[in-house]
């Protein structure tokens, strides 16, 4: 059970906030001797496995590190091309770490605007009157939940398929966005959110998230008394509170 990532997309399809909260898994490190028994190819400025799936290394995985040094796209840590480096017998034996390619910030921007269009097409192709766009998208490894506000901002959460209570999380994120991004006088609408109150990890969903943010929010208020929002009547204890 986990929350994998959170995306906030503005009404034009631009990504204004993104958070990842998963540790990369399924990485495999192996030592190879000269003729490399994997076929590697260059794709989107990354070196990917094209053929030769084995020992946890799967087709589509990227070269993440060579001899313990992280690679930088298609270049090694000292600026040589990975494919050239691995073609040279003098560099062997070599230890290579493979794993799922991580998303760059450019790709995240692209995926956010892609979802924005898919959302619109989903509502256009509806067989029923008055349908919204995609609210929940299900795959075998994750579920994507999307909440669009009346003003057109989309909050997108990627979570484990069995994780419950995402709807309340989405509304909570909306509330935090309204309180800490919109009410911040230095925030300009539709622009990436940099307000530290919104982005700081004390409210961020951690993998053991249990469905309640109250603790984190109270802590936020403690730390930033100067930015307290107006008090309101608490529905559970029926008293004027900060909760």
């Amino acid at each position: 059970m986990a929350i994998f990532s959170v995306y906030v997309v503005n009404k034009a399809g631009g990504l204004i906030y993104q958070l990842d909260s998963y540790a990369p898994r399924a990485e495999a490190e192996k030592t190879f001797s000269y003729p490399l028994d994997l076929l590697l190819k260059l794709h989107d400025e990354r070196v990917l496995v094209a053929f030769g799936q084995r020992d946890g290394i799967r087709v589509g995985h990227a070269v993440l590190a060579i001899n313990g040094m992280d690679v930088n796209g298609k270049y090694t840590a000292d600026g040589k091309e990975v494919l050239e480096y691995l073609a040279n017998p003098a560099n062997y034996p070599v230890s290579i770490r493979f794993g799922r390619p991580r998303l760059t910030s450019n790709e995240k921007l692209m995926l956010a605007s892609m979802f924005h269009s898919l959302f619109a097409i989903g509502s256009q192709l509806s067989p029923e009157q008055g349908s919204s766009g995609i609210e929940m998208l299900e795959t075998d490894t994750f579920k994507l939940h999307c909440f669009q506000t009346l003003t057109g901002i989309k909050f997108v959460v990627l979570a484990d398929p069995r994780q419950a209570g995402i709807d309340s999380l989405l509304r909570k994120i909306y509330e935090i966005y309204s309180d800490f991004a919109l009410k911040n006088p230095f925030y300009s609408l539709e622009m990436p959110i940099r307000a530290s109150l919104f982005t700081q990890p004390s409210w961020a969903p951690d993998p053991s998230w249990c469905g309640c943010f109250a603790g984190g929010r109270r802590q936020l208020y403690w730390l930033h008394k100067s930015l307290q929002p107006p008090r309101r009547l608490c529905s559970s204890c029926n008293a004027w509170q900060w909760c």
Binding site: G122, L125, G130, S131, L137, D140, F142
Partner: protein, 145 residues
């Protein structure tokens, strides 16, 4: 619970078959355009989902739902795509879509020498059997409207 419509695409994006049962709203564009839009959306969702996934995927994209309908998706290793739109109350129907592929499409179209592959299915037998199969589904109800 009800079934709205069903699309069958081949791996090149040709719409092999389309049928509808309780469809209350048309997309407002010609049918050919609608098939292209649907195939394009599924194609993009597939690539979107494979990039977004935090883990390696096996089946990939399964379904999405909006406030009014749910789209179920099933793809075979050969790239045939079966897409069924139902209302929100319908759970996972992977086995139903697999049955449409294996017991109807393969048996009545692929094994039929008179049906050229890669074109809209003309077989009347396939249409009838598909229609009666969908009508016999437990979540298919002839709700008026």
């Amino acid at each position: 619970m009800t079934v709205h419509n069903l699309y069958l695409f081949d791996r090149n994006g040709v719409c092999l078959h389309y049928s509808e049962w309780h469809r209350k709203k048309q997309a407002g564009i010609p049918k050919e355009e609608e098939y292209k839009l649907m195939y394009g959306m599924l194609f993009s969702i597939r690539s979107f989902v494979s990039k977004m996934s935090p883990l390696d995927m096996k089946d990939g994209f399964l379904a999405f739902q909006t406030s009014r309908y749910k789209l179920h998706y099933y793809e075979t290793p050969t790239g045939i795509k079966v897409v069924m739109n139902t209302d929100l109350g319908v759970g996972p129907i992977r086995d139903v879509l697999h049955h449409i592929y294996s017991a109807l499409y393969v048996e009545l179209v692929v094994k039929n020498p008179l049906c050229p592959l890669g074109q809209t299915v003309q077989s009347e037998l396939f249409r009838c059997r598909l229609d009666s199969y969908v009508r016999s589904l437990p979540f298919f109800s002839a709700r008026a409207g």
